[in-house]
Each structure stands twice: as structure tokens, then as C-alpha cells.
């Protein structure tokens, strides 16, 4: 009830972090980091994966306990031992993974965690207050909708509303736009900017998207390998300064030279494919496309529009409900024999779960495609472990896989190295058809450059590449032809030369009327 007036009257706190250090065992995740956020600032926290951004905000939010350093709020030292303490001080976090309860309504999610919630909830009174609260907010949601029916953008809005409703005047947004269309991202960040401009809240935006930082943030702090790598006013820095702060002086692999050639015959053809998701709801509807030799076809789209189900069908993990797939001119039955004969290779999302056997070693995982053939298996029966390890050692060196050795269990590797391992396996033999989904998700810029180069190299050698990615920049960089997938359909197609970000973004957000 007093929430609304509180938000309007009380100014956001000034937060300063001094000398913050956090160690996990031998690893120093944060080393003497300082950060200053003035009231009403839109502050960007920039850095690669593993740079310590999440660790820093988790220390601020009381999820982690820092080993050294302190946090001053409005000039006074604050001890924040739990998320509840942070909430009491008006600090709130909008997490990267949605923390909404999907079986509950918008109203129930908003009321959750509210201080002074009685044992019995007086719904009529609560609803009245929620309605008043919504009226004061720049974006609105219906109170009775179940969260599972909201779109990704609406869920993100609800996360933000929830924090504001709890009285947070200092909001940390952890990569909020990774699941949004460009339009939704612009809308949400724009609205947050309105709130900071009005001096009602402060925002810390964690991101690795320079475009967003440039467009919305006033100030930026950059972390690299747990240390403060730079800070300043966004207006006085240009893009190359920020990239240098993020990756240091290391050279990035140059983007692969793209051979200009005409695409050849269609190697992979999808004809009228329909697929249902786990709930029996159509996820892919009447999808038709061709991928020709020597071209990269990029499918853009916001996650959850049928991409995962589509890749699962291509991988043989899910049955189609209609239509069919042709590979190399023949109907593709997704058997091991066909995969081998046609050279079909696949790097799915979450490769540790979808393309690896967790408990097996790196060498074993590298041989999953070939262990049953000569020379890995003598006579197709007896495994030749020495050969397996020798070949693995070669691939580990060639693809720069960081592992303790060929015998280390695959699950001990970092995400980027698992990704490299699977890509090494899939590209170690001639691939005629390569299907990759979000190949660079969560990787650092160096690994990203390397993996993209491998994909372009494969294309240059005549492989038909189908790239399914939620990262529009990746699609624009790699694809020869760009398709947009929305609600299980291909809704737009454009060649690379005529691609326009606005136009593609608009089609990504397209919904059937």
C-alpha cells in the first residue's frame, strides 16, 4: 500500500563497493574490485563469461559472502549476509534464469516474498493494492494470467515488476535480454532508462552486448579475469576501448575468410515437417527448407519458437508428427548407418547433455562416432584403446581443448571446452551436412572467434551448414541465407546481402493474429 508512494518519494541508494575479493578454493574469482553506483545511474557491468560479473553481484546480493572488502550503502557500511538482507536494504536482482513460479498467476508471483504477508492472504485487499501499483508502473500485466502463458518478454517484465513491488530501488539486471527479441529488449531497457532518468531507481545492467551498453548505460565498469579492467562514462568510450578492456591485448582470431562461390546441390531438405513439444502442443508447423552444399543457412528466432524441437528431430531424439527430411536426395531415417554414409554431423545446444556421455572420458566422447569401426575397433568388436587415445590427443591439440588429458571425464571440462570437444568430434571426419545450434552460447570471445572460424571453414570446403542460433549477431556474421523462425514456422527469408537488423527483429517478434 505504501509501496507506490515509497517508490516515488525515497531516492535510490548510492552504492559503493570497495576492495571486494572472493575466492573459491584456489581460484580467485574476484580480486580487489571497486565499483561506484550513484543514485539514479544506469550502470553497465561488462565482461566476458567467467570475468567475475556474477560473483560480484552475488556478493552484493548476499548469495555469496565476500572474503574481503566492503559495501557502503548511502555512505554506511552494510553487512549483507543473505538475499533477505539485500532486500531489506532495497537491493534487488532480476536473475538470468527466470525465478518465477510458472504454475502461479501474476498476482501470486507478485505477492510472493512480500514483507508482512499474513498467514492468511486477504486477496481482495491485495488485488486492490496490486492494481494501484500496476497503474503507477510504465508497463502492465493482467493479474490473473498464469505465468506459464506469458511470453519471454512479459516474464522479464514481471521479474522487474516483482522487484519494484518488493520495494527495490536498486536493480541488478543479469543479462536480461538474452531471451528477448530486439524490439522487446529495446522496450524493456528503454523503460528502465525512463525510471532511472526520473531518479526513481538505479540500475546495474550485466551484459556482454556492447550495443545495449552503448545505447542505454550512462556509466560502465569492465571486469576481466576477476579484476577491474576499466571504467568510465559510456559517452567518452568507444567500442574498441570497451572490447580491449574486456579481452585484454590478446588478438582475437581473425574472422574466417569467406570463399565466394555459388552454393551447390541441396544436401539437406526438410519437407512440411511438423513436430510436437513435450506437452503435445505443435512446436514446429509445416516447416520446409533446403540447405545446399557450401552455404550456411542461419535460422534466427527467439528461444522457444520450436528451434529445440526441430534440432531434436534432426538429431533423432524426437519423432516428427508430419512431413519428412531428405538428406543427400534420399529420405533420412536418422540411423547411425545413414549418419555415417551421408556425413551428417551435429552440435546441439547443451552438448554435455545432448551429445556427450557424462561419465565417460574425453577420449571416449571423442570417439563416439567412430569407436565401432577400424582402426578403433578391431574386427568391429575389440576396442583399440591405444588408438582411441592417440587420436584423441591429436584432436585435443588441434582444437585447443583444455583438459587434464584424454582420460579426464568430460564433465570436468568447462562449458566452452565441452563445446570444442563435440565440435572436434563432429568435424574430425569430412562433414557433408553440419547442423549447429547456439554453438557459441556462453563462450568467451576468443573461443567464439575460433568456433565461428571452424564453421566457416567447413562451409568453404563445401559442407552444407544449418545454423540455428538465438544470437542475431552470430547469424548476421556467419549465414549466407537468413531465415526467421517464429511460432514453429519460417516467417521470413533474406539473403545475407540484403539482411536488415530491424526487419529481421520485426519478424522475430511476429505472432499469428
Amino acid at each position: 500500500m505504501n509501496m507506490v508512494s515509497q517508490l516515488a518519494v525515497e531516492a535510490p541508494p548510492s552504492v559503493s563497493i570497495k576492495g571486494l575479493t572472493k575466492r573459491f578454493g584456489a581460484l580467485t574469482a574476484l580480486d580487489d574490485v571497486a565499483m561506484e553506483i550513484r543514485p539514479g545511474a544506469f550502470h553497465a557491468l561488462l565482461g566476458e563469461n567467467g570475468a567475475g560479473k556474477s560473483t560480484l553481484v552475488k556478493c552484493l546480493m548476499g548469495t555469496y559472502r565476500a572474503d574481503a572488502g566492503h559495501v557502503l550503502i548511502d555512505g554506511q557500511e552494510a553487512s549483507i549476509a543473505s538475499p533477505r538482507d539485500a532486500q531489506r536494504l532495497g537491493l534487488g536482482m532480476v536473475y538470468q534464469h527466470f525465478t518465477l513460479v510458472s504454475s502461479m498467476t501474476v498476482a501470486e508471483n507478485l505477492v510472493q516474498g512480500e514483507a508482512g504477508l499474513g498467514a492468511i492472504i486477504d486477496w481482495p485487499a491485495r488485488r486492490e493494492r496490486l492494481t494501484a501499483f500496476m497503474a503507477d508502473m510504465p508497463f502492465r500485466l493482467e493479474l490473473d494470467r498464469q505465468v506459464s502463458t506469458l511470453s519471454a518478454g512479459e516474464k522479464q517484465k514481471l521479474e522487474i515488476l516483482k522487484q519494484l513491488h518488493l520495494g527495490s530501488r536498486f536493480l541488478v539486471l543479469d543479462e536480461p535480454t538474452s531471451v528477448l527479441t530486439p524490439d522487446e529488449a529495446d522496450q524493456i531497457l528503454g523503460l528502465m532508462h525512463q525510471l532511472t532518468d526520473a531518479g526513481r531507481i538505479s540500475v546495474v545492467l550485466i551484459s556482454h552486448k556492447l550495443r545495449e551498453v552503448e545505447a542505454y548505460a550512462d556509466e560502465v565498469t569492465v571486469l576481466r579475469q576477476g579484476r577491474l579492467a576499466g571504467r568510465g562514462q559510456v559517452g567518452s568510450l568507444d567500442r574498441s576501448d570497451m572490447v580491449r578492456m574486456m579481452v585484454g591485448e590478446d588478438q582475437l582470431a581473425a574472422s574466417a575468410p569467406r570463399v565466394t562461390h555459388d552454393a551447390g546441390e541441396a544436401l539437406l531438405s526438410v519437407r512440411g515437417l511438423s513436430v510436437e513439444d513435450d506437452k503435445g502442443v505443435p512446436a514446429v508447423r509445416d516447416l520446409t527448407l533446403d540447405v545446399r552444399s557450401g552455404e550456411i543457412v542461419g535460422i534466427a528466432g527467439v528461444s522457444g519458437n520450436g528451434q529445440t524441437e526441430f534440432v531434436e528431430v534432426l538429431a533423432g531424439q524426437r519423432a516428427e508428427t508430419g512431413g519428412h527430411i531428405e538428406a543427400g536426395g534420399r529420405r533420412y531415417g536418422k540411423t547411425r548407418a545413414e549418419m555415417r554414409a551421408l556425413g551428417i554431423k551435429l552440435l546441439p545446444e547443451a552438448p554435455l547433455d545432448n551429445a556427450c556421455v557424462r561419465g565417460m572420458s574425453v577420449a571416449e566422447n571423442l570417439s563416439l562416432r567412430t569407436y565401432d569401426t577400424e582402426p578403433m575397433a578391431r574386427g568391429g568388436i575389440w576396442l583399440n584403446r591405444a588408438e582411441m587415445r592417440k587420436r584423441a590427443a591429436g584432436l585435443i591439440a588441434r582444437f585447443h581443448i583444455k583438459t587434464q588429458g584424454p582420460d579426464a571425464a568430460i564433465e570436468t571440462l568447462s562449458g566452452g571446452n565441452v563445446q570444442r570437444t563435440v565440435l572436434a568430434r563432429e568435424l574430425s571426419e569430412k562433414a557433408r551436412i553440419l547442423i549447429v545450434q547456439n554453438p557459441c552460447f556462453g563462450l568467451d570471445l576468443k573461443a567464439v572467434a575460433e568456433i565461428r572460424r571452424q564453421i566457416v571453414d567447413a562451409r568453404n570446403e563445401g559442407t552444407a551448414v544449418l545454423l540455428i542460433s538465438e544470437d542475431l549477431d552470430e547469424i548476421l556474421e556467419l549465414a549466407d541465407r537468413i531465415l526467421v523462425m517464429s511460432d514453429g514456422r519460417i516467417v521470413y527469408e533474406t539473403p545475407r546481402s540484403e539482411a536488415d537488423l530491424q526487419e529481421i527483429g520485426h519478424h522475430m517478434a511476429h505472432h499469428e493474429e
Binding site: 538475499p83 533477505r84 536473475y95 525465478t99 510458472s102 492472504i121 506437452k279
Partner: protein, 308 residues
């Protein structure tokens, strides 16, 4: 001819009466399991808890002469046994299904061991309410002899349905069961909520057990439960984790269990054991109906391991 016609009516009335009489343990166990699963854990040990409740309730009634005290003790015994499940499952990397099966075997074994001396003495039974006073028909009168525990279970189902929506505890329980990430972000103690959900579920299952030994069939022996605790777990899936639907589903299972005796009383004695197996067939049918390779279970709490 008139005899058989009355016989078929008799079967129907007997099935309805039987459904009311037999359904109560199903109802209590399924409400208990609903609470536990809403918190994000499955307790398959409720069969053991049910038998333990039956034994301890009966023993208490024999020793003190107070059947209602037996009901209370049965609930506490069930809560205590479920506390074992709750605590073991709170350890990292413990599978709740495996612990549940262990608890099921442990609970029944313990009940048989401790219950040996109580097979012979007879305990005072729980009283009935005669809700059939308005009818002249002895069939109807006997069908409507209802235990207060049944009415209490019905009220409890309505109360739980209300409480899950309208109390803070209900919201916390559902949050923890649906998304541990959300619960963590809100600063709830997930382990504590799950322990509370499991223990409360065990209390209800224990009360269900006391109904078996103190009301219907009203004796204590080792074949008393015949798997009702396990069937109630399947029933929760069928009821889609909704307390009110648990009530309807319990009546359905109760009716299936009562089918054999009802037919026998009408003179159909052939295939008695086949009709007696009706609840097991029903359980299978329910599980086949609710399982599908393509569809995930609708309404299942997100953290429950059967829905992952």
C-alpha cells in the same frame, strides 16, 4: 426375478457404501502425498507409513481403550517415520524414490515386528455416524454408516485446496515444489519446507492407517493394507495434485475395492478374486492413461522427480 433386480440395486448401493467406507485411507494417504509432492519430493514410503499407523493406532487403542488417542498416535508415528525420509533426502545427492522404497519396506517390517502381540486382542473401534436414519432400507442404512474420519478427510481436502491458494504457507509450499530457483531467490529455506511437507504428509498417511485398523476392516493383521498406500501415490498423479480431485479419485478407488465384496453379497461369487483385483487394474489403467511418451504431466510440481 424380483430378487435379482433388488440384487443389482443392492450391488450399486453396496459399491457406493463401500466406496465411502474404503476410500478414507486412500484419501488421507493421497492428501498427504499431495502435500509432500507439492513441496517437491515423492514419498513412496507412505505404504510403510500407512501400515505403521495402523499398527500403532491399534496398539494404542488396545492399551488405553481410547480409539481417538490411537488416531493421534498413528498420525505421530507416521510423521516420525516420514521425518526419517525427509532428513535422509535432505542430504546431498540422495534419491527420494530409492529412500521411499527403503522406507516402505522398513515401515511395514517394523510394524509387523512391533505389532505381533496385537494380532489377537481386540481394540475398541471408532464410532460411526448414522446418516441413513431417514431410510427404511437396511441396505441404505448400512451404506450410510459413516466414520467421522471420512467427513474430516472431506473437510481437509476442501481446506487444503483453499489453503494452497490463500495462505502464505500454501504459496511457499507451491513455490518450493515448483521452482527451487525461485524459492532460493526469495530466501526461503527449501530443505526446511520440504521436511515440513513430508512430515505433514506422513502424519496424514498415519491417520489413514489408523482408520484401517480401528474402523474398517477394524482389525490389525499383516495383510491389512494390501498396497493401498502405493495405489494412493498413483492416485495423486491421476488427481493432478489437486486435493479436491484426490477426494473424487479416492471414492473411485474405494468403489473399485468394494466391487468384489459387493458382488459377493449379491450372490455373484464367480471370479471373486478377479473383482478383488479391480483396484490394481484401475491403478494400471490410471498410470497408462496419465503416461505418454510425448506429453509431460500437466499440473505436476516442477521439482518432483517423476515429472523431470
Amino acid at each position: 426375478m424380483e430378487g435379482t433386480e433388488l440384487g443389482w440395486w443392492g450391488v450399486l448401493i453396496a459399491v457406493i457404501g463401500g466406496a465411502i467406507r474404503v476410500s478414507t485411507p486412500y484419501l488421507f494417504v493421497s492428501l498427504g502425498e499431495t502435500l509432500t509432492e507439492k513441496s517437491g519430493r515423492v514419498n513412496l514410503g507412505l505404504e510403510g507409513v500407512l501400515v505403521m499407523g495402523a499398527m500403532s493406532g491399534y496398539a494404542t487403542a488396545v492399551l488405553t481403550g481410547q480409539p481417538w488417542l490411537g488416531v493421534l498416535v498413528a498420525g505421530c508415528a507416521g510423521a516420525l517415520l516420514s521425518l526419517v525420509h525427509a532428513l535422509v533426502c535432505s542430504l546431498p545427492r540422495v534419491n527420494d524414490i530409492a529412500v521411499g522404497i527403503a522406507l516402505f519396506i522398513f515401515g511395514t517390517g517394523l510394524a509387523f515386528f512391533l505389532g505381533k502381540p496385537f494380532i489377537n486382542p481386540s481394540a475398541p473401534r471408532l464410532p460411526d455416524l448414522d446418516l441413513g436414519w431417514w431410510s427404511d432400507s437396511p441396505h441404505i442404512q448400512s451404506a450410510l454408516q459413516i466414520s467421522p474420519l471420512f467427513l474430516f478427510g472431506f473437510a481437509l481436502a476442501l481446506f487444503l485446496a483453499w489453503a494452497l491458494k490463500n495462505t502464505r504457507w500454501g504459496l511457499v509450499l507451491r513455490t518450493v515444489g515448483d521452482s527451487s530457483e525461485a524459492a532460493q531467490a526469495l530466501g526461503y529455506n527449501i530443505t526446511l519446507v520440504r521436511i515440513a511437507g513430508t512430515v505433514a504428509g506422513g502424519f496424514l498417511a498415519g491417520v489413514g492407517g489408523s482408520y484401517l485398523s480401528l474402523y474398517f476392516p477394524g482389525t490389525w493383521n499383516e495383510g491389512l493394507s494390501s498396497g493401498q498406500g502405493l495405489m494412493a501415490v498413483a492416485l495423486v498423479i491421476f488427481a493432478r495434485w489437486d486435493p479436491v480431485r484426490c477426494f473424487y479419485a479416492s471414492l473411485l478407488f474405494g468403489g473399485a475395492t468394494a466391487l468384489g465384496p459387493a458382488l459377493q453379497s449379491a450372490g455373484v461369487t464367480a471370479n471373486y478374486y478377479l473383482y478383488g483385483a479391480a483396484p490394481y487394474f484401475l491403478t494400471l489403467a490410471v498410470l497408462i492413461y496419465s503416461a505418454s511418451p510425448r506429453k509431460a504431466l500437466e499440473g505436476a510440481p516442477g521439482e518432483v522427480s517423476i515429472s523431470r
